[in-house]
Amino acid sequence: MPVVRMSAFERFPWRRVILVSLSIFIGIFVVYGSWKTLTLPEGERYSGAAWLDFVILGIAQGAILALIALGYTLVYGILRMINFAHGEIFMVGAFASYFFADAYLKSGYLNRHPVSALGILFLTAITTSVAVALLLERVAYRPLRNSPRLVPLITAIGASLFLQSAVRGFFGTATRGYPKPDVLTGTWTIFGIEIARIEVLVFVVSVAAMIVLQLFVSRTKTGKSMRAVAEDSEIASLMGIDVDRVVVTTFAIGGALAGIAGVLFALSFEQVNFYMGFRPGIAAFTAAVLGGIGSIGGAALGGFALGLLQSVGPALLLTGIGVPSPFQLKDVVTFAVLVLVLIFRPGGLLGSGGAEKV
């Protein structure tokens, strides 16, 4: 744990006491919970295959989280603001592609030409998410660019609520089944491990998107100006970089990644509803913070780490101590990780641990 220098400690010593006892408590809890789970009597215990399933599921979920987390991290890097409505941008993309998916299922196109159909689904989702992200930036965030930091956060919360209830008003409250092409049902055996085909797709598409993003940011001129603005937007604008354009590009990229994540999420859970963006949105934000917000590699790492924690954590920590239906508490794990990372290492796993940044 990094040494944190803070004058307030002298005046308020029990803050440290609380922190230390909290970490000891958590340590004991983690060790005790996992030990109990792993030593459950035969029959009640999870088999090795079950654990493997948890890990694979965690990686697939983590890939989706990482894609959403990249949107948070990019915007935070450029504007130092938490785009609270990003989860809703993800949801909007998934919802828009649903209508095409549904129509293609009915016309049979989805199963006849699954590749081109999926391509169109991705395109629809990307277009919609990008459009909504840009609209949001223009209407809700740009007028407040120079306000105190809490102001855009409050608008972002408002925007999240607004988008969610607008979608609810447009399309209704019902959860709709998202069709999946037959090609993606069943499993593939890779390195002797049976993996659900959809999970392979999720992993391949997400990693490809992340690689493209990394290349874009590091190799292209626009990417360079993004990095410059993230470093210092004032100086960047003096150097002739159009900051507004960079901000718009950033929101567009974030939106596109959210759109891709939306389709992948909808395909893996085979459903969409107006509320689907909220929890994944917060989880993805947690992933971004976990990896170190503002860093692209950090968001990717944080996404996979949180995905694993979400799928393995509840089973490992809670089953043994007799908590019924541990997966109900999946999001408790998420939020606990979020809180703990921010308390103990606000810079994230890859960050410098700098307290003053926060």
Binding site: V139, A140, I157, L161, F170, I282, P324
Partner: protein, 589 residues
């Protein structure tokens, strides 16, 4: 003629109408009769849009550093262009819909029904309806532009009178009941069949409001001054004013009847939450998005301390822990415990600033609401099914279960919280919060222990929030996890933001508008989150200090608006507020 700008303003208005139609709000507000059966909420909204769009599009602009106003003729013609664009867009979409087929659009947008088309086409055929929309847009736009040319005072008086009439129409479920209770005959004013204002009632309201606004514009300042000197110089008047206020507050439940009292009960619970959150957000400047944690804690702790049963599939069961204390014995314990929880939550997260603090508190709040509904804590708090038979908070046999009685209990709580907030704001603590909110480093350097004051804000805010929870627990005597979701935190935040951060009257008005209006007009109930979202965005952009700003706070927020152009823009914006204050403007968001 800056045609692009005018058309754009009109199109934005038109998109607003289409949006409101697509989410289904248009069909819903068309069921509200404001005046007679002719002026429904939908028609009032349809008329307001081109009018307001035109009014805004012809506002004075800064040209070469000077505020330039348009001539009367230009105002009217420019306004007409804007109105035409707004009406034209709506008309075009109407024609498109009827050509493409309502049923086919409905496969995607479920709210596009024949009923909606009938509203938009005024019950005529699509072509006739579209022509009415275009023509009406043109005329109303011209009227909106013309309205701008009136003297500012006349504008204010007229806008007040129109808003007052619409407001009286909206309050159709309160005023007639109150009139009946007072022994007056409401039938001349409210039509018993359409339940809206009668035309006579509307005319009377309009002219009375017009006269009152005109008087106020001429004599208001003097009257206020007289009242102030009177209360200052003669302590007796103060007592009289206080007594009159108390008498009015005490008669409200009798006046409005049981149904409205129930709505008032919900309003008061959120008033309490708003007052508590106001201490944390408004005074100390710490954005707490997990406020629902205190609300939930207060409610469940009260239930456990006073005794309750768990809801189970087989009936009911006793919770794992249950004391049977009197409500008034349990209450101080709950409040103290909540303050302790505030300290515990606050201590580790204090080092975080601003937005990170917000997200961490959000996380903590979510943990609490997931745990409340989980199977794990089922033996204690009932899990998803919740608890019931919570002991009543009766005093000497006077039960508070009845909505009309509950009002008094909640009023006492709200008054207490308001009093505490009021005393805190001017105290040493309040000033320390103020300094801390404005600049933490400077406050620290001035010798204010920011850690201690942040903790104090969390503790006091938490205590007030738990009062809200306790109130909810005894209100109907049952609790479910559905009442303790993140939306509670966000609603409380919206109440504080809408009213104005740090302003106690603001919280009261915020709760009345955001909780009271949707409760009163069930048509809005489904759309309250949409309205909250729109309200949060537009308040932050247009009026960050809130409806009833705290004086010191609003100065602070406007510090950055000192450049000349901004200043001129503000001048124009200030004039718009009269119109935007009308409740219809809020509701139609």
């Amino acid at each position: 003629m800056p045609i692009g700008r005018l058309v754009r303003a009109g199109l934005v208005g038109g998109i607003g109408v289409i949006f409101v139609s697509l989410v289904g709000l248009m069909a819903r507000i068309s069921e509200i009769n404001l005046i007679g059966t002719q002026v429904t909420g939908a028609y009032a909204f349809l008329a307001l849009v081109p009018f307001a769009a035109a009014y805004i599009s012809v506002r004075p602009r800064v040209v070469a550093g000077r505020l330039e106003e348009l001539t009367a003729g230009r105002s009217v013609s420019f306004g007409a262009v804007t109105g035409l664009a707004a009406g034209g867009l709506v008309a075009a979409s109407l024609l498109f819909t009827s050509w493409y087929g309502v049923e086919r659009i409905r496969e995607v947008f479920i709210e596009v029904t024949q009923e909606l088309i009938d509203v938009l086409s005024f019950g005529q055929s699509a072509i006739v309806g579209a022509s009415i929309l275009v023509l009406g847009g043109l005329l109303l736009g011209a009227a909106g532009g013309g309205f701008r040319t009136l003297a500012p005072e006349a504008r204010k008086v007229l806008a007040t009178a129109i808003s007052a009439t619409l407001l009286m129409g909206l309050l159709q479920r309160i005023i007639p009941i109150a009139m009946l209770q007072l022994g007056l005959d409401p039938d001349w004013m409210y039509d018993p069949i359409s339940s809206g204002l009668t035309w006579v009632g509307a005319a009377v309201t309009f002219f009375v409001a017009l006269g009152a606004a005109w008087l106020w514009a001429r004599r208001g300042r003097a009257a206020r001054e007289t009242l102030r000197t009177m209360t200052r110089e003669q302590p007796g008047t103060r007592v009289v004013v206080g007594l009159v206020m108390i008498a009015i507050l005490a008669t409200i439940p009798w006046l409005v009847g049981s149904v409205i009292s129930e709505v008032l009960g919900a309003v008061m619970v959120f008033m309490l939450l708003g007052l508590g959150l106001n201490i944390v957000v408004g005074y100390a400047g710490l954005l707490d998005l997990g406020y629902v944690a205190f609300f939930g804690f207060g409610a469940y702790a009260t239930a456990l301390l006073t005794g309750a049963t768990l809801n189970t599939t087989t009936g009911s069961a006793a919770p794992a822990l249950s004391l049977h204390l009197n409500f008034y014995v349990a209450l101080p314990i709950v409040v103290l415990l909540a303050a302790g929880v505030g300290l515990l939550i606050g201590a580790p997260v204090l080092r975080l600033r601003g937005d990170y603090l917000a997200i961490v508190t959000l996380g903590l709040g979510e943990i609490v609401s997931i745990l409340i509904g989980s199977n794990w804590l089922k033996p204690l708090v009932g899990g998803p099914q919740g608890m019931r038979n919570i002991t009543d908070a009766s005093i000497a046999g006077f039960s508070f279960r009845d909505p009309q009685h509950f009002y008094y209990l909640s009023l006492a709580f709200v008054l207490l919280a308001a009093f505490v907030s009021l005393r805190l704001s001017g105290s040493r603590i309040g000033r320390a919060w103020n300094a801390m909110r404005e600049d933490e480093q400077v406050a620290d350097a001035m010798g204010i222990s920011t850690t201690r004051y942040k903790l104090l804000a969390f503790a006091i805010g938490g205590a007030v929030g738990s009062l809200g929870g306790a109130l909810l627990a005894v209100r109907i005597g049952s609790l479910t996890p559905a009442s303790f979701v993140i939306l509670v935190s966000i609603t409380a935040l919206a109440v504080v933001i809408l009213g104005g951060m740090g302003s106690i009257p603001g919280v009261i008005v915020g709760a009345l508008v955001l909780i009271g209006l949707p409760g009163l007009l069930r048509e809005f109930e489904e759309y309250r989150l949409l309205i909250y979202g729109a309200a949060l965005i537009s308040i932050m952009i247009l009026r960050p200090q809130g409806l009833i700003p705290n004086v010191r706070r609003s100065r602070e927020l406007h510090e950055e608006d000192r450049s000349q152009d901004k200043w001129a823009g503000d001048l124009a914006a200030d004039e718009d507020t009269a119109a935007s204050l009308s409740p219809l403007g809020e509701g139609s968001g």
